[in-house]
């Protein structure tokens, strides 16, 4: 084996990568991809759609409850006015009875 063969053997020898190699490659890929497309890539938590659905349902129920209470108050005011008028009319009619 001459000196050239020895140099080639050392240069082509199999070496294990450093421990953070995979993480660095993944990071570099994300940065390159974001820079290339012009948008930021976000990884959303898996529970987010469920939380959004729960919030929407709760909001819808609260809004329905609010509308129901408003409608109920309007009915009660209308009935109170009607009752007040009828009561007044009946009282006046009774007063006028001989």
């Amino acid at each position: 084996m001459d000196w050239l063969e020895e140099e080639l053997r050392q240069a082509l020898e199999r070496k294990d990568p450093p421990p953070d190699f995979a993480a660095r490659v993944a990071h570099a890929t994300r940065v390159d991809s974001a820079a290339g497309s012009g948008r930021v890539v976000r990884v959303w938590p898996r529970w987010l759609p469920v939380a959004a659905a729960v919030l929407l349902m709760a909001g819808g129920a609260a809004y329905r409850e609010h509308r129901g209470r408003v409608a109920k108050e309007r009915v009660m005011v209308a009935m109170r006015i009607t009752a007040d008028q009828l009561n007044h009319i009946q009282a006046r009619v009774r007063e006028a009875k001989p």
Partner: protein, 180 residues
Amino acid sequence: MKPIRSMLLAAALAWLLAAQQFKFNLEHLEAKSSDTVDISLNSSTLQFAAKFLDSKDPDEAEVKKLINGLEGIYVKTFSFKSEAAYSIADIEGVRKQLRAPEWSRIVRFKSAEDGESAEVYVRNADKRISGVAIIAAGPKQLTVVNIAGSVDLDSLSDLSGHFGLPKLDTVQPGKPKKPE
């Protein structure tokens, strides 16, 4: 585009007023009044509201019983700071729509002393009461009510025992009282 919008608005208004049995035509008084109460409740709103009425509360239970079968409740009340803010013609515009044979007046009173007057009409359809109209006028107040639909007069008069009002005699339909 404008004609379509107008048609849609007219259709929406017609749908809203479908259950109302006569027109109030009193919008012009709003500018003169110090306080106005304008309530328009159609059948679907009444049924929706009924779900939120508490059967354990005496007032709400009575109202819940009464609105079952109603097609609408329409109330307009004006309060004025001075007298003569509205005219007899304003009341006549409502009164002329409440004519026989559709409508019959069951109660009327008029006081020359304090200038108050009130009338109660019922609408008859197929030998049953299908609506009630109230016109109550005072020197500084005017109220018009239309309760549309199948009205139980006993339940309606029972309202006088609720809302903190004293219990009074039942108004009997078909027996006009003339205290004047």
